[in-house]
């Protein structure tokens, strides 16, 4: 496998601790890489440097071996981009904009764009100015994918989409992956990352926190159970026997379970249970748990 994106000690300092510092990581050809981190961690700043919008202060980022600032125009031939906050030519209709962009990008076949518009139920006849956030996001998705590029850089691609469309998006990404496209995708939605990504880069405060295979993240992902027992004394007894950070409050016990819930469920089933609730950890909670040490582990 050869490298599609290669960041080497990439630094862009905006002062006051804002920016990205000393980022080094690579995305292999054909790989789907998640790009994760809390808001303001520097994901978009990194992506802007890949797109050649801004120049690194130090270090470099290369796509297909070419410097992203100096050779931005050549790189764009095989790149589909979805901005974090898409801004279009508001005076155009959705379809006119997509046609315009296709021509600008030298995409002669508009069939793929039509297919994508149907897939996401996008009505392109309205002026972009009048479109809702979700509809604009669909325009952005079609714009990024319509050329069938080798590389896709997607910054929060499903923000504003409803769950149905989020699912269709995941299928689209999986299809592109099968086609052999390389994808770098920033996201806040675990399911999206979990179902599509091979690896993830996690950044915090502008620095790399980890580059992990997704399986490892999944293993540390916790499920938070909240079990309500018929009798408070059962709750107390269970909390005492289970330990491992179980917290009792009246007839309810909350416990965090990592990995398989099998042992937990078997232990619970020894008592009579009135209700059980499952809360899945969000990506942010997972980061805090994974990299924030035990402080958040109650």
């Amino acid at each position: 496998m050869s490298r599609m994106i290669e960041a080497e000690k990439l630094t862009k300092d905006y002062g006051g601790g804002r920016g990205v510092f000393d980022l080094s990581f690579a995305v292999e050809k054909g790989e789907v890489m998640g790009f994760l981190g809390p808001n303001g961690a520097g994901k978009t700043t990194t992506i802007r440097q890949m797109m050649g919008f801004i120049r690194p202060d130090q270090g470099s980022v290369r796509i297909g071996g070419r410097d992203c600032f100096a050779h931005a125009a050549q790189i764009q031939r095989e790149l589909g981009y979805l901005p974090g906050e898409p801004a279009f030519m508001e005076d155009m209709t959705g379809e006119a904009f997509l046609h315009f962009l296709a021509k600008m990008k030298g995409i002669s076949d508009f069939g793929r764009a039509r297919e994508l518009m149907e897939r996401f139920e996008l009505d392109g006849s309205a002026r972009i100015k009048r479109m809702s956030k979700g509809t604009k996001q669909k325009v952005a998705i079609v714009a990024a994918f319509m050329g069938g590029p080798e590389l896709l850089i997607l910054d929060e691609p499903t923000s504003g989409l409803d769950p149905l469309m989020q699912n269709r998006f995941i299928d689209l990404v999986l299809g592109e992956k099968q086609r052999g496209a390389t994808i770098l995708m920033s996201s806040h939605i675990f399911e999206e990352v979990e179902r599509t990504c091979d690896r993830t880069v996690i950044i915090r405060e502008g620095r790399i926190a980890a580059v992990e295979r997704l399986e490892k993240l999944k293993k540390t992902k916790r499920k938070l159970f909240s079990v309500q027992f018929e009798r408070p004394q059962d709750a107390a007894a269970f909390a005492a026997s289970w330990q491992k950070g179980a917290r009792q409050q009246g007839d309810t016990v909350q416990a965090a379970v990592t990995g398989s819930p099998d042992a937990f469920l078997k232990a619970v089933s020894a008592y009579s249970v009135r209700d059980i609730d499952l809360h899945r950890e969000t990506l942010e909670e997972l980061f805090l748990h994974f990299y924030g040490g035990e402080a958040n582990d109650q």
Partner: protein, 266 residues
């Protein structure tokens, strides 16, 4: 050198703005030409003598006896600088700074076009729009003059004046386009372009109004545009116009280079 798709889009999105300005200019232009009357000139001269400084400020003091002088005094002294200036400020801002400010520049940059090529396309749109304006006014004044006062217009010198006007508009375009290329914010882009243009106009008005401030004209690039002297047959305004055009193009080039090299917050 340029991108045809982008060029077509800009023409489509800006032609209405241009039409509005052409209409307003046509209104003023035709009014002035129709107003010409060798006898009326005398009464206007009387009026000018009663308020010499005000008329001088707008460059309308020596109204002149011929149709050519009349048109040049009333149109080319102020109106045909001020109106195109407003247009140039608006269009320059739309062509670059507004895309950056709104963020849609990201989509233009996400195409296999070098930044220089995008910026050159936009500069060409601006230059051609200004050319349209000059050709429109030239044609209009010439047609009206030939219809109403056949043989009165000194066509050769009138064309020279219009060529010089185009040179001036290239210069103003250069200032505004350069500002548009360098600014992330439309307020700054408009502010610098309009501010510079208005300052040039004000300095010109003040320097024309009285001898006390006459020296100010040496710091004002508008002085290089001298339609009256051109009509009078002097030759230095040709070099002045040339200087305006060249420095305007140089400013545009500088803007394009700055745009190609700088960080864009999109």
């Amino acid at each position: 050198m340029i991108n045809k798709t982008l060029f077509a889009r800009e023409v489509r999105s800006s032609y209405k703005l241009l039409l509005i300005f052409l209409a307003v200019l046509a209104l003023y232009g035709s009014m002035i030409v129709v107003m010409f009357d060798p006898k009326l000139g005398d009464s206007l001269n009387l009026m000018a003598e009663s308020m010499p400084q005000l008329f001088a400020a707008f460059g309308m003091l020596d109204v002149g006896a011929t149709l050519t002088q009349f048109i040049v005094n009333y149109l080319y002294g102020f109106l045909l600088i001020a109106f195109p200036l407003v247009f140039i400020v608006l269009l320059s801002n739309r062509l670059v700074a507004r895309y950056v400010d709104r963020g849609s520049m990201a989509y233009l940059l996400a195409t296999p076009n070098r930044r220089g090529r995008l910026a050159r396309t936009q500069a060409l749109v601006l230059l051609l729009a200004c050319l349209c304006m000059v050709l429109w006014m030239t044609g209009l004044c010439w047609a009206l003059s030939s219809a109403l006062f056949p043989g009165e217009l000194d066509t050769g010198r009138f064309l020279a004046v219009n060529a010089a006007l185009y040179a001036l508009l290239i210069f103003l375009s250069g200032v505004c386009f350069c500002a548009s290329c360098c600014c992330n914010d439309t307020r700054w882009s408009c502010g610098i372009g309009a501010g510079a243009g208005i300052a040039f106009l004000l300095i010109q008005m003040i320097s024309q109004a009285g001898e006390k401030f006459e020296g100010l004209k040496y710091i004002d690039p508008l002085t290089l545009f001298a339609p009256k002297e051109l009509v009078a047959g002097e030759s230095w305004p040709i070099w002045g116009a040339l200087a305006l055009a060249v420095s305007g193009l140089a400013l545009m080039g500088a803007g394009i280079v700055a745009f190609s090299r700088r960080d864009l917050p999109v």
